[in-house]
């Protein structure tokens, strides 16, 4: 069996409000799955719950990362097991440079006290930055502080490239990007595609999927997946609009 990120019958809420309702989805490694849906349908909540955000309450369900239950683990443990979340709104960390931040994240993945190869690290960091067309000076800037929307997203993809997770969830990575930035970020993601990594690409619009062509498309509505299909489903959705999904649901 292909290792996968498997979400089974997940029910979750924030406060009194139920957000995920019996949500199930399996993303095998090596595949890119798009999760589409209108605003307020629970897409970002899903991303945060997978990453272990403390604000949400999970009533029931299971999440397996390569067969290991990760639901209820601390966010850092989940991260080190191989789940990466590219944030829609990444936090600023004043005074902490990008180079030091990524380095700290890598050191956290090493055995305690193991030596860190700084030379190899910088070589790799610079190579990835070149690919993302990021200026070298970027390394000494503080994480996300004063970044434009495009710089923030590029910085997320840089971290993704450096940390090499087993699964990456991209939360509305296309929001706030102009067409050039969108292309650069998408190319960055495409370079990371391969048999070792599974992607969950959360997006509102079909536009991103022209650049990151998904293996599967899922339509999310009111806390669960209501439609799954191939990449053509995204085009159908684009043509018909979300009202189509609504009407279809009403007739069932």
């Amino acid at each position: 069996m292909t290792p996968s990120l498997e979400i089974k019958n997940l029910n979750a809420s924030i406060g009194e409000r139920a957000i995920l309702k019996n949500f199930s989805l399996t993303i095998p490694r090596g595949e890119v799955h798009a999760i589409m849906g209108p605003n307020g349908t629970g897409k970002s909540t899903l991303a945060k719950i997978l990453a272990g955000h403390p604000d949400y309450t999970v009533q029931s369900g299971e999440v397996f990362l390569d067969g290991e239950q990760i639901l209820g683990l601390e966010p850092d443990v989940i991260a080190r097991q191989g789940l990466f979340l590219a944030f829609q709104y990444p936090s600023e960390i004043p005074g902490v440079t990008i180079a030091n931040f990524i380095r700290a994240a890598l050191v956290a993945r090493q055995a305690k006290g193991a030596p860190f190869d700084a030379k190899a690290y910088y070589a790799q960091l610079y190579a990835k930055m070149d690919e993302l067309k990021m200026d070298r000076k970027f390394t000494s800037r503080f994480v996300n502080e004063g970044f434009s929307g495009g710089e923030k997203k590029r910085c997320e993809i840089l971290q993704l490239a450096m940390l090499k997770p087993k699964y990456a969830v991209l939360d509305e990575t296309d929001s706030g990007l102009d067409i050039d930035a969108l292309r650069i970020v998408s190319e960055g993601v495409n370079r990371l595609r391969g048999p070792d990594t599974g992607f969950g690409v959360i997006t509102h619009y079909q536009r991103l999927l022209e650049y990151i062509v998904p293996d599967r498309v899922h339509i999310m509505w009111d806390g669960r997946i209501v439609h799954s299909g191939g990449k053509e489903l995204a085009l159908e959705l684009e043509a018909k609009g979300y009202d189509w999904v609504k009407q279809e649901l009403a007739t069932h």
């Binding site: 990453a51 272990g52 955000h53 403390p54 604000d55 601390e74 966010p75 850092d76 991260a79 080190r80 990466f84 979340l85 944030f87 990444p90 936090s91 600023e92 960390i93 004043p94 005074g95 902490v96 030091n100 931040f101 990524i102 700290a104 994240a105 956290a108 993945r109 503080f142 971290q159 940390l163």
Partner: protein, 475 residues
């Protein structure tokens, strides 16, 4: 080259025959100042030290001032009332040092030594198991080199008795005994500390370290330091270390006076990490004459209560003063720190950057005093104070007192209070950092620009120390 020398000095210090140190103190053993504060105690101290009559009188006068001044609780914390002056031993000869075995040292202190990578021999000294960490060898080597330059680097006793023509003129002049209650206390019972004179035009390349010298004497509770940089000279002085001082003596009250004569530069660097039972009540002030510069770089960690407001009196035209300070108040601790800049000449500039971190129910207070009177022109002050709150019950207060009058004088004041947000922590944890690691990274980021001002070896230790302090702050 410098690093090699220092490393060699460290090794020498560790390898030394310990019996050597005993000789110097033999004559002290007979003396016991007893517990409590009285004119008799003052006489004891003066006699033990073989002091001149004028110093004895200075001490007695100071004692009277100390007794006459009220506790400054009308503006400072009432926690000061918990100091019982009659229970304190004001002069400890070496044989009276509290002794304990390594087994009695609390585990958390031992762990901290381990984590900071403190050499074995130093741990015992720092934990109070051994009365002194013998650094006589490195001290005398340093002293020899300094003597070639004409630099005097000694204790107050030697300074006042052997070089009165240099030190007497300034002793107690920058900070008179009557400056405040604790300066008066120090003036009455001071012992230990550094007296330094840098001759005209001499630029001392190596920072002078109190660490070696003071450890070669008694660990002073009431240290007295006087640094005089003669015209055009330059010196950097470093006191303290990042290792926790584990002590039973609860009151520490130092007085530090700096005198930068025309065109001289003094940089005074402090890193202190007191144990949580210590009252650390310090008076530090420098005078900067024409075109001179006094710079205080100060890092306060630990203690029950620290009160410290390094100041510069800008007495000559073109003088510059600077205070860079970092304070970290953990659970049950109060860091009441700040800076004073007194502009007393034309074209004087001052800069204050103070950053505080409050953890748990720790409290940090910033007090700033900036005075630019009407009679002077082209004076500038810049003040920035930033506070970072870590937990819900962390607390910070800011009391800036700025008085700027007259034409062509300017002042700029910025203050900020920030919190490490739950979203920031989540973001960092999503990258694989534990909650503690995330918190210490955020805190290190907050003080990053100031830490850079510390010498390399201190800034690395500081980073590690902040990490240690932050570990218990989460969960």
């Amino acid at each position: 080259m410098a690093e090699i020398d220092e490393a060699q000095a460290q090794r020498d210090a560790l390898a030394i025959d310990r019996s050597k140190g005993d000789f110097k103190y033999k004559e002290d053993y007979a003396f016991d100042a007893g517990i409590g504060l009285s004119p008799t105690v003052i006489d004891y101290i003066a006699k033990v030290k073989g002091e001149d009559e004028w110093i004895r009188e200075f001490r007695h006068k100071a004692l009277k001032i100390f007794e006459s001044l009220p506790m400054p609780t009308h503006w400072a914390t009432s926690d000061l009332n918990n100091i019982n002056f009659q229970e304190i031993r004001y002069y400890l000869a070496k044989s009276q040092k509290p002794s304990r075995t390594w087994e009695e040292v609390p585990d958390d202190v031992k762990q901290t030594f381990e984590r900071l990578g403190i050499p074995e021999a130093e741990r015992k000294f720092l934990a109070g198991v051994e009365a002194q960490f013998d650094s006589e060898a490195s001290y005398s080597r340093m002293k020899e080199e300094l003597e070639k330059l004409g630099v005097i680097f000694c204790g107050p006793n030697e300074g006042l008795s052997q070089h009165p023509e240099i030190f007497r003129k300034w002793f107690g002049k920058v900070i008179p005994a009557g400056d405040n209650k604790f300066a008066a206390l120090n003036s009455a019972v001071f012992s230990g500390g550094s007296f330094i004179y840098i001759p005209k035009g001499v630029k001392v390349a190596q920072p002078l370290q109190a660490y070696f010298r003071i450890n070669a004497e008694n660990f002073g509770q009431f240290e007295r330091t006087l640094i005089i940089a003669d015209e055009g000279s330059e010196v950097t002085y470093m006191e303290g270390c990042t290792a926790p001082k584990f002590e039973t003596a609860t009151l520490h009250s130092a007085v530090v006076e700096l005198v930068a004569l025309k065109g001289a530069k003094i940089q005074y660097i402090t890193v202190q990490n007191w144990s949580a039972n210590v009252f650390n009540l310090v008076t530090k002030r420098g005078i900067a004459e024409e075109n001179a510069e006094v710079r205080w770089i100060d890092c306060n960690i630990g203690s029950r209560l620290t009160m410290k407001y390094p100041g510069v009196v800008l007495r000559g035209a073109g003088a510059r003063g600077e205070v860079l300070s970092i304070a970290l108040a953990n659970d049950g601790q109060h860091q009441d720190t700040g800076a004073k800049m007194i502009h007393a000449a034309h074209n004087t500039t001052s800069n204050i950057i103070a950053k505080s971190i409050s953890v748990g129910n720790g409290r940090s207070t910033y007090r700033g005093l900036v005075q630019i009177p009407k009679v002077f022109q082209n004076c500038r002050n810049n003040t920035e104070c930033d506070a970072l709150l870590i937990n819900e019950h962390s607390r910070t207060d800011t009391y800036p007192a700025i008085s700027v009058r007259g034409q062509k004088n300017s002042v700029q004041h910025e203050a900020s209070v920030s919190k490490v947000s739950a979203e920031q922590i989540f973001y960092m944890m999503q990258r694989g950092l534990s909650e503690g690691e995330a918190m210490s990274l955020a805190v290190n980021g907050f003080v990053n620009d100031l830490v850079k001002e510390f010498p390399m070896e201190y800034s690395v230790e500081l980073k590690r120390l902040i990490e240690l302090q932050m570990e218990g702050s989460v969960g």
